[in-house]
Structures are given as structure tokens and as C-alpha cells.
């Protein structure tokens, strides 16, 4: 069986940044396994600009952003197997994969980095009985059709869900000559970035109908139209608000879900809120030497944060391999004995945090605690509590569920509270 120090599952931006960082941290034996025929992940179909402002200080399109990392990985001579699907990973880190050339094969890894990204939620999104005529696509599938195949799925479209991919596709379809009649969002707020509402909807006069959903679909073979209605606070359609929109295409942009079948089977503990692995400050899961980053960990709206997180995971995986491989176990013993993990808990207004355990003795000088809020709050504070004491309080003009938040934690601060039981992040009114 072939052996590698670090095997990375997925060659999207997360997998690539993790590979580059692991290599730069001095690990030579790194392998990336990617099921697609090219590296870059979902970015290859995201041809719009707006990527990389944080990472490269310039605005790139998705393929350009991916291109930077692919080049870097090539420069560093990182091994990649394309068209290779990972089927299973054992708790002992034996990776089973399959491709045309090698057939079914196994690899032994010292550390594994999970970077499988996410897929679109589709099923269950349309909670209505009746036919499913042709013309209903997930927004990501439509994005692939238009951007990769040059195929416009229809002339008149309605979009259900205001996630970023749906917003981006509203603009894309319009530019390609289709008419987008409305974007309906079940919640009273958009799930996408504000800038996308401005430049993808408002620029083209496409109405965003908040607190609306599709209640009926017309058409047997091909979609002929949909009926939208307003919903009340509990998501129930309000009688009398129905509006019929003739259209031949319905796009569903109702969220993404991390791709964790493999992780779950190998015994990685998942957080029911994110559907991603529970990780500590090193992005390490409950299985030692198994790390996770990018959309497989929690759904990101900004690829820059994916790269940042993945670089940290790669570096930590490299450090793990070095400690575990050293003949002299002194360093490993010191590491294993140092500090203890303190849980991070989502408080008022916060849906989840990543990481959800922090060992101050294992963290770098600073760590960005990422989280999402459960509603729209204006003129509020993001607060961090160490048990009963509020240690950080930062003003925010507005926070919304569609935009991932972050707050910086200092190791120094944490080290000053050796008896700490829990860290809590909360949104507090101004």
C-alpha cells in the first residue's frame, strides 16, 4: 500500500490551499485526490468577479482565483490524482479510492484533510405536491449549464431562494437574454450578500420578494408558470396574496449542505447545525490527525475565508505529522499534555461557531472565531463571554445570517483565564 504523510480529499480552493500550506510547512509527501477532471472545485463555474480581494488585494473571477492556487501547487510539485473518487476512509486513515487508471486502491495516510466542499440542497425545497415538469433546476446546475456548456436553460425564469448562487444566476440569465421575473425568499431577509442584491437584482430591476414562496407549479411536460404567495411568521401561505408568474424555468437556490457522508462513516462527529465536523482550534476533528476546512466544515460565502481556514488546517496537519513521526517523542508528549480544550458555545443570536473547542496552549497568537447569526440585527454588539465575564464587545452596524461573521481571539487573553469553563459568543443590542 502506498503511504503519504498527508492525503487531502478534494481539490477545490480548500484542498489546494491546505496542500500548499502543508508543503510550505515542510511536508514533502502530500497527495490531493479530486473526483473531477480538473482542480479548482466549484470556482470553475463561478465566472463572475469578486473573489480574492482579501487574499490577493485585487478582484478576480472564480477561475482566476483557482488558477492562482493551481499554479502554486504545480510550482511546489504537489502530487494530485484527478478523476479519482474517494469512497471511504477508515479511522486508521486508510483511504479507499477509485479511478480508471488504478482501479480500486488504498493509501495509508498519517494525516487526512477533509476538503470535499458542499452540494446544493434540492430535495424537499419544493414542498408542494404534483408534477415535476422539465425546467426546474438547482441554481448551481443552471450555473454549470450556462457558464460551462453555454446553454441557457430557459427564456423566462423565477428563482426560489435568495442565496448568492441564485442572485448571481439572476444576473447571469438576464445578461444571456432571459427575463428573470422575480426572486422569492421564504425568510424576511435575504440569504445572500448585500452587494449581490445591489449588483445582481437592483441593477436589472428584478424584484426580490421577501417572505414569499412557490405554492403551485403549472405544466406537465414543461414548466408553464408558478404561483407565489406571501407567507406569515410561521411560513404558512397567506390566502389572497397569490400571484401567478408565467415562466419556463424555475431555479432553486435554497442553500448548500456540506458533503460529509465519508466523514460520518469514518466516525467524525458532526455538528447538527452546520452539518460539518466539530473541530478544535487546529481544525482537527474528534479523530486525531483528521482535519477539515472549507465548505465541508461549514458553508462559506467568501472563498477568501476558505483559503485562510484551509491554510491553517494544512499547517496544523503538517505540525501533527512532524510531532507524530519524530523519533524523540518529547515534543509530542509536551503537546499532548499542554492545556485543555474549552468549549465555545453559541449564545443569544448566534447559530453556531467554528471552532467549537479551543485549547489555548495549542492555538496560534490569534484565532478568528467564525460564526453565523440567526437573524438580522442592527446597531448591535458582538460580545465574547468567558464564563460570567464579558471580555470582548465590538460594535456592528448590521449583521445578517447571509454573511459569515468573525471575531478575533488573542491567546494572551485566553491564557489569563486558566480555570475557564466555557467561551460564549452572543449578539447584544446597542
Amino acid at each position: 500500500m502506498e503511504k503519504y504523510d498527508i492525503v487531502i480529499i478534494g481539490g477545490g480552493p480548500a484542498g489546494l490551499a491546505a496542500a500548499v500550506s502543508a508543503r510550505e510547512s515542510g511536508i514533502g509527501s502530500v497527495l490531493v485526490l479530486e473526483r473531477d477532471k480538473e482542480l479548482g472545485g466549484i470556482l470553475n463555474q463561478c465566472i463572475h468577479n469578486g473573489f480574492g480581494l482579501h487574499t490577493f488585494r485585487e478582484e478576480l473571477t472564480g477561475p482566476e482565483y483557482a488558477g492562482r492556487f493551481i499554479e502554486k501547487a504545480e510550482e511546489l510539485g504537489i502530487a494530485c490524482k484527478l478523476d479519482t473518487m474517494v469512497l471511504e476512509i477508515s479511522p486508521g486513515k486508510i483511504v479507499t479510492a477509485v479511478n480508471r487508471e488504478d482501479g480500486l486502491f488504498e493509501l495509508q495516510a498519517k494525516a487526512v484533510i477533509l476538503a470535499m466542499g458542499c452540494r446544493e440542497r434540492a430535495r424537499g425545497a419544493l414542498n408542494i405536491p404534483g408534477f415535476r415538469p422539465a425546467g426546474i433546476y438547482s441554481a448551481g446546475t443552471a450555473q454549470k449549464l450556462v457558464n460551462m456548456e453555454g446553454f441557457l436553460p430557459g427564456r423566462e425564469a423565477v428563482i426560489l431562494g435568495s442565496g448568492d448562487i441564485g442572485l448571481i444566476m439572476a444576473r447571469r440569465m438576464t445578461l444571456e437574454g432571459a427575463t428573470v421575473k422575480a426572486v422569492a425568499e421564504l425568510m424576511p431577509y435575504s440569504g445572500g450578500l448585500k452587494r449581490n442584491i445591489v449588483q445582481c437584482l437592483e441593477d436589472f430591476g428584478i424584484p426580490l420578494k421577501l417572505s414569499h414562496t412557490v405554492i403551485d407549479i403549472k405544466g406537465k411536460e414543461r414548466l408553464e408558470g408558478v404561483t407565489l404567495a406571501e407567507v406569515d411568521g410561521r411560513g404558512k401561505p397567506v390566502p389572497g396574496t397569490e400571484e401567478y408568474y408565467p415562466c419556463d424555468t424555475l431555479l432553486l437556490s435554497v442553500g448548500l449542505i456540506p458533503e460529509n457522508e465519508i466523514s460520518g462513516k469514518m466516525g467524525v462527529e458532526l455538528n447538527p447545525v452546520t452539518a460539518g465536523p466539530k473541530v478544535n482550534e487546529s481544525f482537527e476533528t474528534n479523530i486525531k490527525g483528521v482535519f477539515a476546512c472549507g465548505n465541508v466544515l461549514h458553508v462559506h460565502d467568501l472563498v477568501d475565508f476558505v483559503s485562510e481556514e484551509a491554510a491553517a488546517a494544512g499547517k496544523n496537519a503538517a505540525a501533527y505529522v512532524k510531532r507524530e513521526s519524530a523519533e524523540d517523542t518529547a515534543e509530542k508528549d509536551v503537546w499532548d499534555a499542554a492545556g485543555r480544550e474549552v468549549p465555545v458555545k453559541p449564545g443569544e443570536g448566534v447559530k453556531y461557531t467554528v471552532p467549537e473547542r479551543i485549547n489555548a496552549a495549542h492555538m496560534g497568537e490569534k484565532l478568528t472565531l467564525r460564526f453565523r447569526v440567526d437573524g438580522v440585527y442592527r446597531d448591535c454588539y458582538v460580545s465574547v463571554w468567558f464564563d460570567g465575564e464579558r471580555v470582548i464587545r465590538r460594535k456592528r452596524q448590521a449583521v445578517a445570517p447571509g454573511e459569515m461573521e468573525g471575531i478575533l481571539l488573542d491567546r494572551e487573553l485566553l491564557l489569563r483565564y486558566p480555570g475557564l469553563d466555557a467561551i460564549r459568543v452572543a449578539i447584544e443590542p446597542g
Binding site: H48, G50, V146, N147, R195, Q199, Q397
Partner: protein, 121 residues
């Protein structure tokens, strides 16, 4: 005095901007986190502009299309004309990131460049 509310679209922070105007002249911009926000607001209320990203056909390539973008922002009212003009453009593989696709698109003075790589068949 006239007050306009905008959202800065220059980066994903999406800062809420307030522009104070007097006789269609910008007096003050507030709400921005960085300088780009102020520049954006000044331009948006006078001459709004956008980067356009789309795809063009590729012949003899491993893929049938390649993604492209305007090298800089173009006037907002030229966006549809730009996409239309690119409908008839064809590239010969190989295409590399940064290759010129069309010069001076739709009379804007801005070039369109490839943002993806397509190898030869």
C-alpha cells in the same frame, strides 16, 4: 440637500453608505470602512460602472467555452451591449488567463480578457 443611501459593492463587506449631495455635487460620503467605498459612492451617483463577466465560444479546445471579463469597469448602461458584442466572438484554443479576447468592447475603450485556461484538443 439631497441624501442618497447606497450599499458599497466593492467588497463583500457591503458597507451601507450615505451620500450627501448639493445640486448633484457630492458634499460628503459616510458609512464607508475604506477609501474604496468613498470612490465608489462618488462614481455611483454620477457615472455608475460595472465589471462584466461572461463566456465566449472556443474552437478546437478541450472545452467549448472560456470565461472572460472586462479588464476594468465599464459604464453600467453599456453592460448589455458588451455581452451582446461578445456573443459573436470566437477564440482559437489554446486560451490562457489574461489573453486578449476583444479590444475596446462596445466602444468603451476597455479590453476584454480571458479568465480561464482552455487547452488544445
Amino acid at each position: 440637500m439631497e441624501i442618497k443611501k447606497l450599499i458599497c459593492i466593492n467588497c463583500p463587506m457591503g458597507c451601507p453608505l450615505t451620500v450627501e449631495m448639493e445640486e448633484s455635487k457630492v458634499i460628503r460620503v459616510s458609512g464607508n470602512t475604506c477609501k474604496r467605498g468613498e470612490d465608489y459612492a462618488r462614481r455611483e451617483v454620477t457615472a455608475p460602472a460595472r465589471t462584466v463577466a461572461t463566456t465566449v465560444k472556443v474552437v478546437n479546445g478541450k472545452a467549448g467555452r472560456v470565461s472572460v471579463k472586462t479588464r476594468e469597469d465599464i459604464p453600467k448602461e453599456k453592460v448589455l451591449a458588451c455581452v451582446k458584442a461578445l456573443k459573436d466572438v470566437q477564440m482559437e484554443a489554446p486560451v490562457c488567463i489574461g489573453d486578449l479576447v476583444a479590444a475596446d468592447i462596445a466602444g468603451t475603450g476597455v479590453d476584454v480578457v480571458a479568465t480561464g485556461n482552455v487547452g488544445e484538443l
